[in-house]
């Protein structure tokens, strides 16, 4: 007697299951008063159409999957929130997966999602430089897929990104204008497209303003907090940069820690700017200059694009690309005043 299903509800109402079913669909012909009766009784008996049965029948799930490198990260969780908001408006549910930057997990998630669990996927890819052709292998029956932020360039599918090249260029330019001559670039994922693009902006800005590019000032970091700080301390002592541009938020934090330890004064001895969506950047010591990405908007845009793809598969080209603008916000960490 636990679960009420359509049959029991129908019995209770002395109606057929089809009539009951119709009460829950908006398009079907049904007497208004019977519909009302049915809905009333449904409420009373606490009936809800079983999701799995409906979806088995209709072959869709009203669910989208979201795959991100990590969740405990302001940027991605904001993006997920944006996605959730749009999905929720459309009556969709979201499944969330975190790869922790492990490529195998990404592959496994994607493959498993092809069992009907989700109608589409929104993904920010892992950092590893692997053969991601697995996505193409699935392509014949591939689920609608939208990339956001971190993308694979060689996979053709709609995407939402930010103007990373321009942002990197302006951030580097800003450092130069503030008098920096030895600007270090802190990288992760040099191989990933987002890493390349951002680095190119840095390189081109140097060139434009006639600052010699020095390979050694590209400092390659990892995903490990402690390691990075140690690594940076070493690098800073040795290379004596007067500016740092971090391609990723957490490297800005690592820079701060390293400078605290080394008694390097920001911004006097070293100016710092970084990609970051941290709302409280103004509260840091010193306030951090940032390239702020519209994380929430990015999520919303990705979700909207996916829905467009779901609703009009034919008129939404696989090459669709939405580009949102980041904002350069100058704060004390790159200031020249004392």
């Amino acid at each position: 007697m636990d679960n009420v299903n359509i049959k029991k509800l129908a019995e209770a109402l002395k109606l057929s299951t089809s009539t009951v079913s119709r009460a829950f669909r908006d398009n079907s012909d049904i007497n208004a008063s019977t519909k009302e009766r049915i809905l009333a009784m449904a409420k009373q008996m606490n009936y809800q159409p079983n999701h799995y049965a409906s979806n088995l029948r209709e072959q869709k799930s009203k669910t989208i999957a979201v795959i991100v490198p990590e969740l405990g990260n302001n940027y991605f969780s904001l993006a997920v929130q944006g996605i959730e908001r749009i999905a929720s408006e459309k009556g969709y549910h979201i499944l969330v997966y975190s790869t922790n930057d492990q490529f195998e997990k990404e592959v496994s998630f994607i493959k498993h999602l092809h069992n009907g669990r989700a109608d589409g996927i929104i993904m920010s890819v892992t950092g590893e430089a692997n053969d991601h052709n697995y996505l193409n292998e699935l392509s014949k029956k591939r689920l609608p897929l939208v990339f956001f932020d971190r993308v694979y360039e060689d996979i053709i599918t709609p995407r939402v990104t930010t103007n990373d090249y321009e942002s990197s260029f302006s951030a580097t330019k800003h450092l130069i204008e503030q008098g920096c001559k030895r600007i270090a670039y802190l990288a992760v994922n040099k191989t990933l497209s987002i890493g390349k693009t951002r680095m190119q902006g840095y390189i081109d800005a140097l060139k434009k303003y006639k600052i010699p590019f020095q390979e050694e000032l590209i400092i390659d970091c990892t995903n490990n907090y402690k390691e990075n700080i140690d690594h940076l301390k070493q690098s800073f002592s040795q290379l004596k940069p007067d500016g740092v541009f971090t391609s990723v938020e957490r490297l800005a934090f690592a820079t701060y820690y390293a400078c605290y330890d080394l008694n390097i004064s920001i911004p006097n001895d070293l100016k710092v700017i970084g990609f970051s969506s941290l709302e409280i950047a103004p509260l840091l010591n010193p306030a951090l200059s940032t390239v702020t990405q519209p994380a929430l908007e990015l999520g919303k845009a990705a979700a909207s694009l996916l829905f467009k793809l779901l609703e009009n598969p034919t008129t939404t080209p696989a090459t669709s690309a939405v580009i949102l603008n980041s904002k350069l916000i100058k704060r004390r960490s790159t200031s020249t005043e004392n």
Copy 2:
């Protein structure tokens, strides 16, 4: 020819669907070599058992729902990450919902989840003081439910919380020891159990150390950033507190902004401590003293408890309560040195 199902796979192998099905189950009797053949062909044809069909058959979804007040928040997103990690290990998927602190959304999510979509729910409740008896009304056939962090006291269901009372007590005590005499308590959700508990710790610490409790020093805040800052600026100017204890992370940030604007020096004029899981609290200006909740662990514990409930419904009492300890971390914002 798009979707391969068990039938097509069976045809291709000249086997019956039952045999094929057995190949995917570990317990069934099946010839090792046929099993191998089946799995090989499945891989080749890219077959996966349809999730909806299986679950319709088996009456469970291998999915748990997570409902949080917000996602773009370090604390909850860390908790979600913890949940995701455990769920993923168990082969479960997670559906994520954000209520944005709207009670109606919470009710709606919960009700809709009773259609079989999820096997269990992990929730941190919204702040509003509503009649949440709706949870009891569902109780006969209620889905296994675990509360974490923010709970409803009058709903009997397993829960994972932190030692809020003790933490509040020690944080307040710490301020007193640092010489504060007029300690403001910044509240939200006074009516919610977590709000009450935290405030009680503050009140009792005052009493114990013979500092008169003053109603006016309880400052009630909202969820709106700007409003809070304005409100705090007014309150601080008027009430002249020498210590502030914030019951919620974002109120610590609002306090900083307010002090910057008013030229109140932290910690000289005002000492600040707050509940917060912010990893970069040491980087704030000044470094923020915190009651740090183990957000990730909280998520993991909640997920583990839910799985216990799912696996041993009878031996896991509805009154199960796991309490994790927060850590008081003293930093410059409550320091007495200059």
